[in-house]
Symmetry: C2
Subunit: 301 residues, 2 copies
Amino acid sequence: MNEKEIITFSAYGGCYVIRGNGAIESAKLGAVGVIIRSLGLPVDEHPHTGSMHYEDSIQKIPAAALATKDADILSNYLKTSKVRFAYEMDCKNFPDAVSYNVIAELTGSEKPNEIITFGGHLDSWDTGEGAHDDGTGVIHCLEALRILKTLNYKPKHTLRVVFFMNEENGNKGGQTYATWSKSRGDIQIAAVESDRGGFAPRGFEIDGNEKYLNLLQSFAPIFKPYDLHIFDKGYGGVDIGPLKKSFEGIPLFGFVPDSQRYFDFHHAPSDVFESVNKRELELGCAAIGSLVYLLDKNISF
Amino acid sequence: MNEKEIITFSAYGGCYVIRGNGAIESAKLGAVGVIIRSLGLPVDEHPHTGSMHYEDSIQKIPAAALATKDADILSNYLKTSKVRFAYEMDCKNFPDAVSYNVIAELTGSEKPNEIITFGGHLDSWDTGEGAHDDGTGVIHCLEALRILKTLNYKPKHTLRVVFFMNEENGNKGGQTYATWSKSRGDIQIAAVESDRGGFAPRGFEIDGNEKYLNLLQSFAPIFKPYDLHIFDKGYGGVDIGPLKKSFEGIPLFGFVPDSQRYFDFHHAPSDVFESVNKRELELGCAAIGSLVYLLDKNISF
Protein backbone atom coordinates (compact mmCIF):
# COMPACT_ATOMS: atom_id res chain seq x y z
CA MET A 1 0.00 0.00 0.00
CA ASN A 2 1.22 3.43 -0.90
CA GLU A 3 2.11 5.08 2.41
CA LYS A 4 2.11 8.50 0.74
CA GLU A 5 -1.69 8.50 0.35
CA ILE A 6 -2.93 10.56 3.28
CA ILE A 7 -6.34 8.86 3.18
CA THR A 8 -5.44 5.25 3.84
CA PHE A 9 -8.57 4.04 2.01
CA SER A 10 -7.09 5.50 -1.19
CA ALA A 11 -3.94 3.46 -0.62
CA TYR A 12 -6.10 0.35 -0.09
CA GLY A 13 -8.15 1.08 -3.21
CA GLY A 14 -4.94 1.47 -5.19
CA CYS A 15 -3.83 -2.11 -4.57
CA TYR A 16 -7.09 -3.92 -3.83
CA VAL A 17 -6.94 -5.42 -7.33
CA ILE A 18 -3.81 -7.41 -6.37
CA ARG A 19 -5.87 -9.44 -3.90
CA GLY A 20 -9.19 -9.22 -5.73
CA ASN A 21 -7.97 -10.33 -9.16
CA GLY A 22 -4.59 -11.85 -8.30
CA ALA A 23 -5.70 -15.46 -8.73
CA ILE A 24 -7.35 -14.79 -12.10
CA GLU A 25 -4.50 -12.79 -13.60
CA SER A 26 -1.79 -15.11 -12.23
CA ALA A 27 -3.54 -18.22 -13.55
CA LYS A 28 -3.76 -16.63 -17.01
CA LEU A 29 0.04 -16.38 -16.92
CA GLY A 30 0.38 -20.04 -15.94
CA ALA A 31 0.80 -19.72 -12.16
CA VAL A 32 -0.10 -22.74 -10.03
CA GLY A 33 -0.75 -20.58 -6.98
CA VAL A 34 -0.62 -16.97 -5.83
CA ILE A 35 0.64 -15.55 -2.59
CA ILE A 36 0.48 -11.83 -1.84
CA ARG A 37 1.77 -9.39 0.74
CA SER A 38 -1.17 -8.50 3.02
CA LEU A 39 -2.94 -5.25 2.22
CA GLY A 40 -2.01 -3.29 5.32
CA LEU A 41 0.21 -0.35 6.24
CA PRO A 42 2.30 -1.55 9.19
CA VAL A 43 5.02 -4.14 8.87
CA ASP A 44 3.72 -6.68 11.35
CA GLU A 45 2.87 -10.32 11.88
CA HIS A 46 -0.89 -10.17 11.13
CA PRO A 47 -1.97 -11.72 7.79
CA HIS A 48 -5.02 -9.95 6.33
CA THR A 49 -7.96 -11.61 4.64
CA GLY A 50 -10.58 -10.11 2.30
CA SER A 51 -12.62 -10.78 -0.78
CA MET A 52 -11.05 -12.26 -3.95
CA HIS A 53 -12.50 -13.55 -7.17
CA TYR A 54 -12.31 -16.44 -9.59
CA GLU A 55 -13.66 -16.72 -13.12
CA ASP A 56 -15.22 -20.01 -14.15
CA SER A 57 -13.31 -20.08 -17.44
CA ILE A 58 -9.93 -19.63 -15.71
CA GLN A 59 -8.10 -22.28 -13.64
CA LYS A 60 -8.93 -21.68 -9.96
CA ILE A 61 -5.54 -21.64 -8.25
CA PRO A 62 -4.84 -21.40 -4.50
CA ALA A 63 -4.47 -17.84 -3.24
CA ALA A 64 -3.30 -16.57 0.14
CA ALA A 65 -1.87 -13.51 1.88
CA LEU A 66 1.21 -13.45 4.09
CA ALA A 67 1.68 -10.97 6.92
CA THR A 68 3.67 -7.96 5.67
CA LYS A 69 6.66 -8.92 7.84
CA ASP A 70 6.70 -12.48 6.50
CA ALA A 71 6.19 -11.28 2.94
CA ASP A 72 9.23 -9.02 3.26
CA ILE A 73 11.33 -11.95 4.50
CA LEU A 74 10.13 -14.09 1.58
CA SER A 75 10.82 -11.25 -0.84
CA ASN A 76 14.37 -10.94 0.48
CA TYR A 77 14.96 -14.67 0.03
CA LEU A 78 13.74 -14.42 -3.56
CA LYS A 79 16.23 -11.67 -4.30
CA THR A 80 19.22 -13.75 -3.27
CA SER A 81 18.35 -17.38 -3.84
CA LYS A 82 16.05 -19.89 -5.46
CA VAL A 83 13.09 -20.50 -3.17
CA ARG A 84 10.80 -23.51 -2.99
CA PHE A 85 7.53 -22.40 -1.45
CA ALA A 86 4.91 -24.88 -0.26
CA TYR A 87 1.54 -24.08 1.24
CA GLU A 88 -1.32 -26.17 2.45
CA MET A 89 -4.81 -24.72 2.68
CA ASP A 90 -8.09 -26.25 3.74
CA CYS A 91 -10.49 -23.51 2.58
CA LYS A 92 -13.91 -24.58 1.38
CA ASN A 93 -16.94 -22.86 -0.07
CA PHE A 94 -20.06 -23.89 1.77
CA PRO A 95 -23.56 -23.42 0.37
CA ASP A 96 -25.33 -20.16 1.21
CA ALA A 97 -27.28 -20.17 4.47
CA VAL A 98 -30.08 -17.89 5.63
CA SER A 99 -29.02 -14.95 7.79
CA TYR A 100 -30.72 -11.68 8.69
CA ASN A 101 -30.42 -7.92 8.79
CA VAL A 102 -31.34 -6.52 12.22
CA ILE A 103 -33.60 -3.46 12.19
CA ALA A 104 -34.82 -1.01 14.82
CA GLU A 105 -36.62 2.29 14.40
CA LEU A 106 -38.18 5.36 15.97
CA THR A 107 -41.36 5.88 13.97
CA GLY A 108 -41.80 9.33 12.44
CA SER A 109 -44.46 11.54 14.03
CA GLU A 110 -45.28 13.51 10.85
CA LYS A 111 -44.06 11.41 7.94
CA PRO A 112 -43.75 7.82 9.13
CA ASN A 113 -43.37 6.50 5.56
CA GLU A 114 -40.32 8.68 4.95
CA ILE A 115 -37.25 6.87 6.21
CA ILE A 116 -33.78 7.98 7.22
CA THR A 117 -31.71 4.79 7.27
CA PHE A 118 -28.43 4.60 9.15
CA GLY A 119 -26.31 1.57 9.82
CA GLY A 120 -23.19 -0.52 9.69
CA HIS A 121 -22.65 -4.19 8.96
CA LEU A 122 -22.97 -7.11 11.33
CA ASP A 123 -20.75 -9.62 9.54
CA SER A 124 -16.96 -9.61 9.64
CA TRP A 125 -13.95 -11.60 8.49
CA ASP A 126 -13.09 -14.26 11.00
CA THR A 127 -9.36 -13.65 11.53
CA GLY A 128 -10.15 -11.08 14.24
CA GLU A 129 -13.37 -10.01 15.90
CA GLY A 130 -14.33 -7.38 13.34
CA ALA A 131 -14.16 -4.69 16.03
CA HIS A 132 -13.41 -1.76 13.69
CA ASP A 133 -14.92 -3.52 10.64
CA ASP A 134 -17.64 -3.06 11.43
CA GLY A 135 -18.46 -3.51 15.12
CA THR A 136 -17.87 0.19 15.72
CA GLY A 137 -20.19 1.12 12.83
CA VAL A 138 -22.95 -0.98 14.37
CA ILE A 139 -22.42 0.60 17.79
CA HIS A 140 -22.22 4.12 16.31
CA CYS A 141 -25.72 3.74 14.89
CA LEU A 142 -27.23 1.79 17.78
CA GLU A 143 -25.98 4.42 20.21
CA ALA A 144 -27.06 7.31 17.96
CA LEU A 145 -30.65 6.00 18.06
CA ARG A 146 -30.42 5.32 21.80
CA ILE A 147 -29.25 8.91 22.42
CA LEU A 148 -32.21 10.34 20.48
CA LYS A 149 -34.62 7.99 22.28
CA THR A 150 -33.14 8.86 25.69
CA LEU A 151 -33.57 12.55 24.90
CA ASN A 152 -37.23 11.72 24.20
CA TYR A 153 -36.80 13.11 20.69
CA LYS A 154 -39.89 12.74 18.48
CA PRO A 155 -38.60 12.56 14.90
CA LYS A 156 -40.59 13.91 11.97
CA HIS A 157 -39.42 11.05 9.77
CA THR A 158 -38.85 7.44 10.71
CA LEU A 159 -35.29 6.98 11.96
CA ARG A 160 -34.28 3.42 11.14
CA VAL A 161 -31.08 1.67 12.21
CA VAL A 162 -30.08 -1.31 10.09
CA PHE A 163 -27.32 -3.77 10.96
CA PHE A 164 -26.62 -5.22 7.53
CA MET A 165 -25.63 -8.85 7.02
CA ASN A 166 -23.14 -10.11 4.41
CA GLU A 167 -21.35 -6.88 3.51
CA GLU A 168 -18.01 -8.65 3.23
CA ASN A 169 -19.04 -11.40 0.90
CA GLY A 170 -21.59 -10.25 -1.65
CA ASN A 171 -23.55 -7.40 -0.03
CA LYS A 172 -26.76 -9.41 0.00
CA GLY A 173 -27.95 -7.67 3.17
CA GLY A 174 -27.71 -4.26 1.51
CA GLN A 175 -29.33 -5.46 -1.69
CA THR A 176 -32.17 -7.24 0.11
CA TYR A 177 -32.84 -4.23 2.34
CA ALA A 178 -33.19 -1.90 -0.65
CA THR A 179 -35.65 -4.13 -2.52
CA TRP A 180 -37.58 -5.07 0.64
CA SER A 181 -37.92 -1.41 1.61
CA LYS A 182 -39.13 -0.46 -1.88
CA SER A 183 -41.63 -3.33 -1.98
CA ARG A 184 -43.30 -2.31 1.30
CA GLY A 185 -43.84 1.26 0.13
CA ASP A 186 -41.12 3.05 2.13
CA ILE A 187 -39.91 6.40 0.87
CA GLN A 188 -36.18 6.45 1.64
CA ILE A 189 -35.10 10.09 1.91
CA ALA A 190 -31.50 9.75 3.15
CA ALA A 191 -29.07 7.08 4.31
CA VAL A 192 -25.95 7.21 6.49
CA GLU A 193 -23.29 4.53 6.86
CA SER A 194 -20.42 4.03 9.27
CA ASP A 195 -17.93 1.51 7.91
CA ARG A 196 -14.52 3.17 8.26
CA GLY A 197 -13.64 2.30 11.83
CA GLY A 198 -14.19 3.73 15.30
CA PHE A 199 -11.61 6.52 15.28
CA ALA A 200 -11.92 10.26 16.05
CA PRO A 201 -14.56 11.87 13.78
CA ARG A 202 -13.34 14.14 10.96
CA GLY A 203 -16.63 14.68 9.12
CA PHE A 204 -18.96 13.24 6.48
CA GLU A 205 -18.80 12.62 2.75
CA ILE A 206 -21.86 12.76 0.54
CA ASP A 207 -22.79 10.82 -2.54
CA GLY A 208 -25.64 13.01 -3.78
CA ASN A 209 -26.55 16.11 -5.73
CA GLU A 210 -25.65 19.76 -5.11
CA LYS A 211 -28.80 20.44 -3.07
CA TYR A 212 -27.81 17.81 -0.51
CA LEU A 213 -24.15 18.79 -0.61
CA ASN A 214 -25.24 22.32 0.29
CA LEU A 215 -27.44 20.94 3.07
CA LEU A 216 -24.51 18.95 4.50
CA GLN A 217 -22.21 21.97 4.28
CA SER A 218 -24.80 24.11 6.06
CA PHE A 219 -24.25 21.81 9.08
CA ALA A 220 -20.48 22.48 9.10
CA PRO A 221 -20.60 25.41 11.57
CA ILE A 222 -22.56 23.23 14.02
CA PHE A 223 -19.91 20.49 13.88
CA LYS A 224 -16.86 22.81 13.85
CA PRO A 225 -16.63 23.21 17.67
CA TYR A 226 -16.26 19.42 17.79
CA ASP A 227 -13.38 19.51 15.25
CA LEU A 228 -15.30 17.90 12.37
CA HIS A 229 -14.10 19.57 9.19
CA ILE A 230 -14.73 17.27 6.19
CA PHE A 231 -18.04 17.98 4.45
CA ASP A 232 -17.32 17.07 0.83
CA LYS A 233 -18.53 15.01 -2.08
CA GLY A 234 -17.43 11.41 -1.72
CA TYR A 235 -18.62 7.94 -0.87
CA GLY A 236 -21.55 6.70 1.19
CA GLY A 237 -21.00 3.02 1.92
CA VAL A 238 -21.32 -0.50 0.51
CA ASP A 239 -24.46 -1.45 2.47
CA ILE A 240 -26.49 1.65 1.63
CA GLY A 241 -25.28 1.69 -2.00
CA PRO A 242 -28.19 -0.40 -3.38
CA LEU A 243 -30.69 2.21 -2.09
CA LYS A 244 -29.60 4.44 -5.00
CA LYS A 245 -31.14 2.01 -7.48
CA SER A 246 -34.44 1.64 -5.61
CA PHE A 247 -34.80 5.29 -4.57
CA GLU A 248 -33.54 7.59 -7.30
CA GLY A 249 -31.82 10.72 -6.05
CA ILE A 250 -31.44 9.58 -2.44
CA PRO A 251 -28.39 11.21 -0.80
CA LEU A 252 -25.96 8.80 0.84
CA PHE A 253 -23.74 10.01 3.67
CA GLY A 254 -20.50 8.25 4.68
CA PHE A 255 -19.12 8.89 8.15
CA VAL A 256 -15.42 9.87 7.96
CA PRO A 257 -13.33 9.06 11.03
CA ASP A 258 -9.56 9.60 11.04
CA SER A 259 -8.18 6.86 8.75
CA GLN A 260 -4.54 6.71 9.85
CA ARG A 261 -4.81 3.58 12.05
CA TYR A 262 -7.57 1.76 10.15
CA PHE A 263 -5.26 -0.53 8.17
CA ASP A 264 -3.44 -1.59 11.33
CA PHE A 265 -6.56 -3.66 12.03
CA HIS A 266 -8.64 -4.09 8.86
CA HIS A 267 -9.40 -7.78 8.11
CA ALA A 268 -6.57 -8.85 10.43
CA PRO A 269 -6.26 -10.77 13.73
CA SER A 270 -5.53 -7.41 15.38
CA ASP A 271 -9.11 -6.13 14.79
CA VAL A 272 -10.27 -6.91 18.31
CA PHE A 273 -12.27 -5.15 21.03
CA GLU A 274 -9.10 -3.83 22.73
CA SER A 275 -8.14 -1.91 19.57
CA VAL A 276 -11.15 0.39 19.96
CA ASN A 277 -10.67 3.55 22.03
CA LYS A 278 -13.78 4.23 24.12
CA ARG A 279 -13.67 8.01 23.78
CA GLU A 280 -13.08 7.93 20.02
CA LEU A 281 -15.99 5.49 19.68
CA GLU A 282 -18.30 7.72 21.74
CA LEU A 283 -17.41 10.77 19.64
CA GLY A 284 -18.42 8.80 16.53
CA CYS A 285 -21.78 7.93 18.11
CA ALA A 286 -22.37 11.60 18.90
CA ALA A 287 -21.40 12.67 15.37
CA ILE A 288 -23.80 10.23 13.72
CA GLY A 289 -26.60 10.97 16.18
CA SER A 290 -26.15 14.67 15.42
CA LEU A 291 -26.20 14.18 11.65
CA VAL A 292 -29.33 12.05 11.82
CA TYR A 293 -31.01 14.68 14.01
CA LEU A 294 -30.01 17.50 11.65
CA LEU A 295 -31.23 15.56 8.62
CA ASP A 296 -34.55 14.82 10.29
CA LYS A 297 -34.98 18.52 11.12
CA ASN A 298 -33.81 20.00 7.83
CA ILE A 299 -34.05 17.62 4.91
CA SER A 300 -36.69 18.14 2.25
CA PHE A 301 -37.13 15.46 -0.34
CA MET B 1 -11.74 15.68 33.98
CA ASN B 2 -14.74 16.95 32.10
CA GLU B 3 -15.32 14.46 29.29
CA LYS B 4 -17.52 16.97 27.46
CA GLU B 5 -14.53 19.18 26.54
CA ILE B 6 -13.71 18.18 22.96
CA ILE B 7 -10.11 19.39 23.38
CA THR B 8 -8.84 17.17 26.15
CA PHE B 9 -6.23 19.77 27.16
CA SER B 10 -9.10 22.08 28.13
CA ALA B 11 -10.47 19.34 30.39
CA TYR B 12 -7.01 18.95 31.95
CA GLY B 13 -6.62 22.70 32.41
CA GLY B 14 -10.01 22.77 34.11
CA CYS B 15 -8.93 20.51 36.96
CA TYR B 16 -5.15 20.94 37.04
CA VAL B 17 -5.55 23.13 40.13
CA ILE B 18 -6.80 20.12 42.13
CA ARG B 19 -3.40 18.49 41.83
CA GLY B 20 -1.33 21.67 41.64
CA ASN B 21 -2.79 23.43 44.69
CA GLY B 22 -4.52 20.52 46.45
CA ALA B 23 -1.94 20.19 49.22
CA ILE B 24 -1.93 23.92 50.00
CA GLU B 25 -5.70 24.37 50.03
CA SER B 26 -6.32 21.14 51.96
CA ALA B 27 -3.74 22.01 54.62
CA LYS B 28 -5.39 25.40 55.08
CA LEU B 29 -8.57 23.51 55.97
CA GLY B 30 -6.71 21.32 58.46
CA ALA B 31 -6.12 18.20 56.36
CA VAL B 32 -3.26 15.91 57.34
CA GLY B 33 -2.88 14.57 53.80
CA VAL B 34 -4.44 14.81 50.38
CA ILE B 35 -5.22 12.08 47.90
CA ILE B 36 -6.75 12.86 44.51
CA ARG B 37 -8.26 11.01 41.57
CA SER B 38 -5.65 10.97 38.78
CA LEU B 39 -6.07 13.60 36.10
CA GLY B 40 -6.90 11.34 33.17
CA LEU B 41 -9.90 10.52 31.02
CA PRO B 42 -10.12 6.73 31.01
CA VAL B 43 -11.13 4.73 34.05
CA ASP B 44 -8.05 2.54 34.35
CA GLU B 45 -5.37 1.29 36.71
CA HIS B 46 -2.63 3.81 35.89
CA PRO B 47 -1.96 6.45 38.55
CA HIS B 48 -0.81 9.77 37.04
CA THR B 49 1.91 12.01 38.36
CA GLY B 50 2.61 15.69 37.64
CA SER B 51 3.69 18.93 39.23
CA MET B 52 2.24 20.15 42.54
CA HIS B 53 3.11 23.02 44.85
CA TYR B 54 3.69 23.85 48.50
CA GLU B 55 3.87 27.21 50.19
CA ASP B 56 6.48 27.69 52.88
CA SER B 57 3.99 29.32 55.25
CA ILE B 58 1.52 26.42 54.98
CA GLN B 59 1.97 22.97 56.53
CA LYS B 60 3.44 20.65 53.85
CA ILE B 61 1.16 17.60 53.92
CA PRO B 62 1.61 14.35 51.95
CA ALA B 63 -0.12 14.39 48.55
CA ALA B 64 -0.69 11.56 46.10
CA ALA B 65 -2.89 10.51 43.17
CA LEU B 66 -4.77 7.23 42.84
CA ALA B 67 -5.57 5.59 39.51
CA THR B 68 -9.05 6.62 38.36
CA LYS B 69 -10.36 3.07 38.87
CA ASP B 70 -9.01 2.89 42.41
CA ALA B 71 -10.25 6.40 43.20
CA ASP B 72 -13.77 5.38 42.14
CA ILE B 73 -13.62 2.34 44.43
CA LEU B 74 -12.46 4.53 47.32
CA SER B 75 -15.13 7.08 46.57
CA ASN B 76 -17.80 4.36 46.67
CA TYR B 77 -16.52 3.13 50.04
CA LEU B 78 -16.72 6.68 51.37
CA LYS B 79 -20.36 6.94 50.32
CA THR B 80 -21.43 3.92 52.31
CA SER B 81 -19.07 3.58 55.24
CA LYS B 82 -16.41 5.14 57.40
CA VAL B 83 -13.02 4.59 55.79
CA ARG B 84 -9.62 4.57 57.41
CA PHE B 85 -7.03 5.35 54.76
CA ALA B 86 -3.30 4.88 55.30
CA TYR B 87 -0.52 5.66 52.89
CA GLU B 88 3.19 5.40 53.05
CA MET B 89 5.38 7.47 50.73
CA ASP B 90 9.12 7.74 50.43
CA CYS B 91 9.35 10.82 48.15
CA LYS B 92 12.31 13.13 48.64
CA ASN B 93 13.47 16.37 47.15
CA PHE B 94 17.08 16.14 46.06
CA PRO B 95 19.27 19.17 45.38
CA ASP B 96 19.30 20.49 41.82
CA ALA B 97 21.88 18.88 39.52
CA VAL B 98 23.33 20.14 36.25
CA SER B 99 21.65 18.89 33.09
CA TYR B 100 21.65 20.17 29.52
CA ASN B 101 19.54 21.22 26.58
CA VAL B 102 20.58 19.45 23.38
CA ILE B 103 20.88 21.66 20.29
CA ALA B 104 21.43 21.02 16.58
CA GLU B 105 21.09 23.38 13.65
CA LEU B 106 21.29 23.97 9.92
CA THR B 107 23.02 27.33 9.62
CA GLY B 108 21.19 29.94 7.56
CA SER B 109 22.73 30.78 4.18
CA GLU B 110 21.46 34.37 4.06
CA LYS B 111 20.65 35.36 7.62
CA PRO B 112 22.55 33.03 9.95
CA ASN B 113 21.84 35.21 13.00
CA GLU B 114 18.10 34.95 12.50
CA ILE B 115 16.90 31.78 14.18
CA ILE B 116 13.82 29.62 13.79
CA THR B 117 13.75 27.45 16.92
CA PHE B 118 11.72 24.25 17.03
CA GLY B 119 11.73 21.60 19.70
CA GLY B 120 10.22 19.42 22.36
CA HIS B 121 11.41 18.46 25.81
CA LEU B 122 13.82 15.75 26.80
CA ASP B 123 12.76 15.19 30.39
CA SER B 124 9.70 13.22 31.46
CA TRP B 125 7.93 11.95 34.55
CA ASP B 126 9.30 8.61 35.57
CA THR B 127 6.13 6.54 35.92
CA GLY B 128 6.27 5.66 32.20
CA GLU B 129 8.85 6.32 29.52
CA GLY B 130 7.54 9.74 28.50
CA ALA B 131 6.85 8.44 25.00
CA HIS B 132 4.08 10.92 24.13
CA ASP B 133 5.29 13.50 26.70
CA ASP B 134 7.51 14.38 25.10
CA GLY B 135 9.50 11.72 23.25
CA THR B 136 7.34 12.22 20.17
CA GLY B 137 7.88 16.00 20.28
CA VAL B 138 11.64 15.45 20.32
CA ILE B 139 11.43 13.00 17.41
CA HIS B 140 9.05 15.28 15.46
CA CYS B 141 11.68 18.04 15.47
CA LEU B 142 14.74 15.82 15.03
CA GLU B 143 13.13 14.17 12.04
CA ALA B 144 11.88 17.49 10.62
CA LEU B 145 15.48 18.76 10.53
CA ARG B 146 16.74 15.43 9.14
CA ILE B 147 14.17 15.59 6.32
CA LEU B 148 15.29 19.10 5.35
CA LYS B 149 18.96 18.08 5.52
CA THR B 150 18.33 14.93 3.47
CA LEU B 151 16.60 17.04 0.83
CA ASN B 152 19.76 19.14 0.79
CA TYR B 153 17.69 22.19 1.67
CA LYS B 154 19.72 25.37 2.22
CA PRO B 155 17.71 27.49 4.64
CA LYS B 156 17.78 31.29 4.53
CA HIS B 157 17.61 31.47 8.32
CA THR B 158 19.24 29.21 10.87
CA LEU B 159 16.95 26.27 11.63
CA ARG B 160 17.65 25.19 15.17
CA VAL B 161 16.28 22.15 16.95
CA VAL B 162 16.32 22.30 20.73
CA PHE B 163 15.57 19.39 23.04
CA PHE B 164 14.73 21.25 26.23
CA MET B 165 15.59 19.92 29.67
CA ASN B 166 13.41 20.30 32.80
CA GLU B 167 10.09 21.23 31.25
CA GLU B 168 8.19 19.16 33.78
CA ASN B 169 9.71 20.60 36.89
CA GLY B 170 10.44 24.31 36.58
CA ASN B 171 11.09 24.97 32.87
CA LYS B 172 14.70 25.87 33.51
CA GLY B 173 15.75 24.55 30.08
CA GLY B 174 13.37 26.89 28.32
CA GLN B 175 14.33 29.85 30.52
CA THR B 176 18.05 29.24 30.11
CA TYR B 177 17.75 28.83 26.35
CA ALA B 178 15.97 32.18 25.98
CA THR B 179 18.55 34.15 28.02
CA TRP B 180 21.52 32.26 26.49
CA SER B 181 20.23 32.93 22.97
CA LYS B 182 19.71 36.62 23.71
CA SER B 183 23.16 36.96 25.31
CA ARG B 184 24.97 35.54 22.27
CA GLY B 185 23.25 37.98 19.89
CA ASP B 186 20.74 35.64 18.22
CA ILE B 187 17.72 37.19 16.60
CA GLN B 188 14.88 34.73 17.27
CA ILE B 189 12.27 35.22 14.54
CA ALA B 190 9.87 32.32 15.23
CA ALA B 191 9.58 29.26 17.44
CA VAL B 192 7.62 26.02 17.10
CA GLU B 193 6.93 23.47 19.83
CA SER B 194 5.56 19.94 19.79
CA ASP B 195 4.39 18.90 23.26
CA ARG B 196 0.88 17.49 22.77
CA GLY B 197 1.67 13.90 21.81
CA GLY B 198 2.43 11.91 18.68
CA PHE B 199 -1.08 11.62 17.25
CA ALA B 200 -2.47 12.45 13.78
CA PRO B 201 -1.80 16.13 12.93
CA ARG B 202 -4.76 18.52 12.98
CA GLY B 203 -2.90 21.83 12.54
CA PHE B 204 -1.08 24.59 14.40
CA GLU B 205 -2.01 27.25 16.91
CA ILE B 206 -0.24 30.60 17.06
CA ASP B 207 0.58 32.86 19.99
CA GLY B 208 1.44 36.01 18.05
CA ASN B 209 0.05 39.09 16.36
CA GLU B 210 -2.34 39.41 13.38
CA LYS B 211 0.47 39.59 10.83
CA TYR B 212 1.76 36.17 11.86
CA LEU B 213 -1.75 34.73 12.22
CA ASN B 214 -2.37 35.78 8.62
CA LEU B 215 0.93 34.20 7.57
CA LEU B 216 -0.03 30.93 9.28
CA GLN B 217 -3.48 30.98 7.69
CA SER B 218 -1.91 31.61 4.26
CA PHE B 219 -0.32 28.14 4.65
CA ALA B 220 -3.71 26.45 5.24
CA PRO B 221 -4.36 25.57 1.56
CA ILE B 222 -0.95 23.85 1.40
CA PHE B 223 -1.77 21.70 4.45
CA LYS B 224 -5.42 21.00 3.51
CA PRO B 225 -4.68 17.98 1.25
CA TYR B 226 -3.04 16.39 4.30
CA ASP B 227 -6.17 17.00 6.42
CA LEU B 228 -4.66 19.69 8.66
CA HIS B 229 -7.41 22.19 9.39
CA ILE B 230 -6.63 24.09 12.62
CA PHE B 231 -4.80 27.38 12.01
CA ASP B 232 -6.02 29.58 14.85
CA LYS B 233 -4.84 31.78 17.66
CA GLY B 234 -3.83 29.72 20.66
CA TYR B 235 -0.89 28.44 22.62
CA GLY B 236 2.75 27.83 21.64
CA GLY B 237 4.37 25.70 24.33
CA VAL B 238 5.98 25.79 27.78
CA ASP B 239 9.60 25.50 26.56
CA ILE B 240 9.44 28.25 23.94
CA GLY B 241 7.36 30.52 26.19
CA PRO B 242 10.36 32.38 27.72
CA LEU B 243 11.47 33.50 24.22
CA LYS B 244 8.60 36.02 24.32
CA LYS B 245 10.33 37.93 27.09
CA SER B 246 13.75 37.97 25.43
CA PHE B 247 12.52 38.58 21.87
CA GLU B 248 9.54 40.92 21.88
CA GLY B 249 6.93 40.12 19.23
CA ILE B 250 8.26 36.67 18.34
CA PRO B 251 5.45 34.42 17.09
CA LEU B 252 5.16 31.05 18.84
CA PHE B 253 3.58 28.11 17.05
CA GLY B 254 2.14 25.08 18.85
CA PHE B 255 1.72 21.84 16.92
CA VAL B 256 -1.83 20.49 17.34
CA PRO B 257 -2.22 16.72 16.98
CA ASP B 258 -5.54 15.00 17.66
CA SER B 259 -5.96 15.18 21.46
CA GLN B 260 -8.53 12.44 22.08
CA ARG B 261 -6.09 9.77 23.31
CA TYR B 262 -3.49 12.03 24.95
CA PHE B 263 -4.80 11.66 28.50
CA ASP B 264 -4.81 7.87 28.19
CA PHE B 265 -1.02 8.17 28.54
CA HIS B 266 -0.07 11.57 29.96
CA HIS B 267 2.20 11.29 33.07
CA ALA B 268 1.12 7.66 33.51
CA PRO B 269 2.81 4.22 33.38
CA SER B 270 1.01 3.69 30.05
CA ASP B 271 3.09 6.40 28.29
CA VAL B 272 5.46 3.91 26.68
CA PHE B 273 7.02 3.36 23.25
CA GLU B 274 4.28 0.88 22.25
CA SER B 275 1.60 3.55 22.68
CA VAL B 276 3.01 5.55 19.76
CA ASN B 277 1.64 4.77 16.31
CA LYS B 278 4.45 4.90 13.73
CA ARG B 279 2.38 6.39 10.95
CA GLU B 280 0.82 9.06 13.18
CA LEU B 281 4.31 9.95 14.43
CA GLU B 282 5.67 10.24 10.88
CA LEU B 283 2.80 12.51 9.85
CA GLY B 284 3.68 14.81 12.74
CA CYS B 285 7.31 14.95 11.61
CA ALA B 286 6.19 15.88 8.10
CA ALA B 287 3.82 18.56 9.41
CA ILE B 288 6.50 20.23 11.51
CA GLY B 289 9.14 19.95 8.77
CA SER B 290 6.68 21.59 6.38
CA LEU B 291 5.85 24.43 8.76
CA VAL B 292 9.53 25.15 9.44
CA TYR B 293 10.21 25.15 5.67
CA LEU B 294 7.29 27.50 4.99
CA LEU B 295 8.36 29.84 7.79
CA ASP B 296 11.93 29.93 6.49
CA LYS B 297 10.67 30.75 2.99
CA ASN B 298 8.00 33.28 3.92
CA ILE B 299 8.53 34.91 7.26
CA SER B 300 9.61 38.53 7.50
CA PHE B 301 10.58 39.88 10.86
